[in-house]
Structures are given as structure tokens and as C-alpha cells.
Amino acid sequence: MNRAGLSRLQMVLALAAGLTGLVGLVLSLPSLGAAPLLALFFALSTVSLARFVLPLTVWLDGALAVLAAIALLAGLTTGVTLPGHHWLALLAGWAFAWLFVERLAAAIRAGSLPETGTSLLIPTVFGLALLVIWEVVTRGANVPPVILPPPSAIGARFVTEIPILWADFVQTFVKSVLPGYAIGCLAGLGVAILVDRSPFLKAGIMPIGNFMSALPIIGIAPIMVMWFGFDWQSKAAVVVAMTFFPMLVNTVAGLNAASAIERDLMATYAASYRQTLLKLRLPAAAPFIFNALKINSTLALIGAIVAEFFGTPVVGMGFRISTGVGRLAIDLVWAEIAVAAIAGSAFYGVIALIERGVTFWHPSVRGGRA
């Protein structure tokens, strides 16, 4: 720490940002009137070098990063590769964003900023910075949209194609994923409870179950398409097969989680097998079961989409992705990816929320970090 209150990494970043701004200012002098915002940013970042004499607030770095983003996005024109000093602005803006995040993290650790709210700000800044860089690089360097479309084009496509995206979502998620997920998880749970009664079966099935969970089960997709036809039934079947084994293995492990002393207590109460199962062992297995439910939530969506590559009616997310690639409608494909990511995260999030409600007693939930 020095007078400006910065660590060594922060000093390097501050110096890099300020000096890049200075160079950018010199380079942009000939075209000063063309991009006034950019010139303003360069000037201000040069001024920020004053921090080595006079401490500057962390929020100023954030404001400079935002100014850089606005200036860069405003300076984008179609069909023209950006001149050199724009790239310097991108570099300086990135340095400011990084510096901002570094100083925020340091301030949170030192306790001078509250944890709630501020800690959400850091990943948000990182994500927005990625989006801005993506937009500026793809449009500024004239990357062909066939290779990587800019986020703005994907967003526009998303909005105009909502009916198609919704139909695909219903076909893939509502018709294939949800029934397959429900059947696979319930079957895994049921078989695990049955197997649990017989040590012989448990000894036989557990190694095979562990082995099966590591296999590329997704490869059965062509077989399922042959057996169950092109429509959602074959996709649901793939999802069932993919979700069954993780559930089986986790539940069997979870049913052993209740300790001997707790089982002894149930025995002294003269509890029946059923009572012990419902009141002790299944609740004790809940963290394991939810672990499997969370793993399966992402597996299920992937399984359904990949299964659609092997044959599908003319609707569905996998169908749209494979034909979109063929027709070079890459922005539609990315919109479909966004739908899949949102659906997958929401599915995972719902299960995580239910888990917090059901396993409120577990140390990992009580500690506040799931």
C-alpha cells in the first residue's frame, strides 16, 4: 500500500489505464471532432493519472469504464473497421473496469463497503464488460456474422422470433425434458429404495450404476429415435436414461447417510421400516437427492437437444440449431442458445430454491452458502 491506497496490481492497472489514455489522446487529436465522447474519455483517463498524487474514489474508475463503453458503442459504424485509437480505448476501458472490480473487492474485504449489493455488482460488471467487448470486437473488426454475430443482432433476432422460439421451447422443454426428467428421477428414486432393502442387490447394482453414470449415455439417442419415433417420446426416453443413474447412485448413497445412533433411536421407538424410511432416512438423504436433481437438470436439457440432431419433427431447439447452422442463420442459433441457457439456469435455480426450503436444517444451507 502506498499513498494512493492501492496494491501493486492496482497500481499497474491504474498506470496502464492512464498511459493508454494519454497515448489515445495524442492519436485521436487529428480526428478530435469526429468522436467527442472518445476524446473526453481519453482526456479524463489521462487526468486520472493524478491519482498518484491525490487519491481518487473507486466510483470514478467505474464511471470511466462506463464512459469508455458508451463512447465505444457510440463510435461503432457498420462496415468500417475501427481506427487504432478505438482499440486503445477498449484496452483502457477494460483496465478501468478491472481496476474498479479490484478496488471494490478490496473495499468489501476491508469492510468499508457493505457486502450485500456490492458483491452482486462485481460479476455484473464482468459480464457487461464481456458483452461490450464482444459487441465492439465483432462490429469494430468486421467479424463476419456467420462466425460470431454481435450481441445486439442476437437480441434483435430474439425479439422478432419469439413465436418460433416459444414453439421450440414447448416442444423441447415442456414435452421432452419435463416428462423425461420426472420419470427418470422417480424411477431412480424408486429403484434405489427397492435396492436398499437387499445388500446383495446393492452390492451388485452400485458398481454398475457408478459405471453407467460415467458412460456417454447420450449415444443411445439414435437407438431411441428408432424405437420411439421422431417426436418427443424418443427425446423423453433419452432423458429418462440419462437421469436415471445419477439419481440411483446418489439416493443409495444418501439412504446410508443417517447415522447408526439415529437408527438405533428409531429402533428403540419400535418404528417400522416404513416409518424409519419416511421420518429418518429419506429426510437424511435429501441433500444427496437434491444433488442428483441438480445434476440431472442440466443433463436433461442437453440430452433432449442432442437427441433432436438424430431426427425430429420440424420444431424443437435441437432442430432449430442444426438447421440454423445449415442455413447460416447463426444469430437465430445464438438466440436459441440464449433460450436454452435461460431455461437451464431457471430450472436449476428452481430446484436450488426448493432445496433450500426442504433441507433448511443442513449445514451447507444454514451457513448461508449453498
Binding site: L104, P216, G219, I305, F309, V325, V333
Partner: protein, 288 residues
């Protein structure tokens, strides 16, 4: 060894169910064939034998799959386009390259996260979010996209494998590198150890069990990533291509054989990581 008999029993049961299921599943087509050939009054035994030996059965019998695996690996030249060993090698090389890249990336990210508060707070949520993008589902598109940029062959497939396998490694290594307890860190501080020494003498050894557990998951999904990435590029070869062409031509036996080869490959890879784990543990003096 007391696990051997139960496992063997279950495997035998699966085989019996498989053979039994093959009869009704292939029966309809076999009946059609027999009617055309004007074969009547077949005994059940010979009808069952027929259903187990069809050319393109709905469900191939186990011995057909084993026979196809034998014919397509040992009986063929390795360089033949029909050799499953050749295709398995293509998939395996992509898997291994992707797994190596993913492990290096994962360990690197974990080290950055451990040593820098800002990267912990900014990276970790996005690493988790990165896995909600079903990259496996868009793997064929990524391969096509990278192909347009001049990247073909092994590299695009390995990148998919890398994307899938770095995640468990990051999560496991962050946990592992943070696993030394405060009292152990304090001891090193009383020794005036540098952060370099703390890393190599305490954090790294403490993270080894976590690393191997993650690597077992990582290598399995690397293989899946490589197989799915192959679906888009029929000319490139690989087990995924065999699955796809088998599916287009109705060659069920070929699909099952490719599937079993992939399964065997996954089992071998996980077993290799497992034995590496035991070797490292033994060298580090871990008593089981």
C-alpha cells in the same frame, strides 16, 4: 472380492433380459420375413434364433454386438475407414487433448481465484453460468464456426472437451486449494514461509485428492464432448460419426458396437485416472 458375485449376477441378469427382450422386439419384422419366405410352423427355438441373427434388428442380440466389435477392430486393418479402432483413436486423441487443456485451464483458473479476491468474485459466478450454456447441444455449430475460421480436425473437438472438463476441475481445485485449515496456514506463517512455499508445500498437496476426483468426472465428460462434437463433421471420422451414419442407414448393430466401444473407452480412461490417483496417493504417503 465379495463384490464380484453380486456384480456378476446382475450382469448375467441383464444379459438374460436383453436376449429375452430381443425376441418380441424383433418378432414383427421376422414374422414378415418368414411369411414372405413361406416359412410356417417354426418351433419357438428356431424363431428365437432367427430374431437373434437379423441383419438390421430393432434390438441386436449381445453376441451380434460383440461380433461386430470383433470384426470392426481386430479383423480389419487399422487404417480402414470401417475400422472402429481407427475411429476410436480419432475420438480418443480429441478427448485426451481436450482433457489436458481443460485440466490446465481449470487448475490455472483455480490458482487465480485462490490468490486474488477480485477474480474470485468476478470469475466464479460466470464460471458457473458458463455451464448453463448447453455447449454440448451447440457443439456441432461451434465446430462448424471454428471450421470457417480455418480450425479443423482435432482442435475444435478438443475445445468442446476442454469447455466441458475445465469446470469440475476449477470447482474441485478451488475447494482443494482452500482445504488447508487455519492452524496449518498459521504454522507455515510461524516458519516465515513465502506464499510460493505455502502453495507448493501445503495447498497443492492438500488439493491432490480433490484434483483426482474432479479429473475422473472431467475425463468422462471430455469423451462425451468429443463424441457429440463429431456429429457435425462426417468427413472427420470418430465414434460420433459412426453413431450418426449408423442411425441414417439403420445399421443398428453398428450403432451398438460404436456405443460399446465408447463405453469401454470411458471405463478405461476413468480407470487410468483412478490408478494414477492411487499411485500419487501412495507416493504421498496416504494410508487407506
Amino acid at each position: 472380492m465379495n463384490r464380484f458375485i453380486p456384480v456378476l449376477t446382475i450382469v448375467l441378469a441383464i444379459l438374460v433380459i436383453w436376449y429375452a427382450a430381443a425376441i418380441p422386439m424383433n418378432a414383427a419384422w421376422q414374422t414378415t420375413l418368414n411369411t414372405r419366405a413361406e416359412l410356417v410352423d417354426l418351433s419357438f427355438a428356431s424363431f428365437a434364433t432367427q430374431t437373434w441373427n437379423q441383419d438390421k434388428p430393432v434390438l441386436p442380440a449381445p453376441h451380434q454386438v460383440v461380433g461386430e466389435i470383433w470384426n470392426a477392430t481386430v479383423a480389419l486393418e487399422f487404417t480402414s475407414r470401417r475400422s472402429l479402432a481407427f475411429h476410436a483413436w480419432i475420438t480418443l486423441s480429441a478427448t485426451l487433448l481436450g482433457f489436458a487443456l481443460g485440466t490446465v485451464l481449470g487448475v490455472g483458473l483455480a490458482v487465480a481465484i485462490i490468490h486474488n479476491d477480485a477474480s474470485d468474485r468476478s470469475l466464479m459466478p460466470w464460471i458457473i453460468a458458463s455451464q448453463t450454456i448447453p455447449i454440448l447441444a451447440v457443439a456441432p455449430m461451434v465446430v462448424v464456426g471454428l471450421g470457417a475460421m480455418g480450425l479443423t480436425g482435432l482442435v475444435p473437438k478438443s475445445l468442446i472437451s476442454m469447455y466441458l472438463s475445465f469446470f469440475p476441475v476449477v470447482v474441485g481445485m478451488v475447494k482443494g486449494l482452500r482445504s488447508p485449515e487455519a492452524i496449518q496456514l498459521d504454522l507455515l506463517r510461524t516458519y516465515d514461509a513465502s506464499s510460493w512455499q505455502v502453495f507448493w508445500k501445503l495447498r497443492w498437496p492438500a488439493a491432490m485428492p480433490f484434483l483426482f476426483a474432479s479429473m475422473k468426472v472431467g475425463i468422462a465428460i471430455s469423451l462425451i464432448g468429443a463424441v457429440v462434437a463429431e456429429l457435425s463433421n462426417a468427413a472427420g471420422g470418430g465414434l460420433g460419426v459412426r453413431l450418426l451414419t449408423g442411425s441414417y442407414n439403420g445399421q443398428t448393430v453398428q450403432i451398438w458396437a460404436a456405443l460399446f466401444i465408447a463405453a469401454g473407452l470411458a471405463a478405461i480412461l476413468v480407470a487410468i485416472v483412478g490408478s494414477a490417483e492411487r499411485w500419487v496417493n501412495a507416493r504421498m504417503g496416504v494410508r487407506v
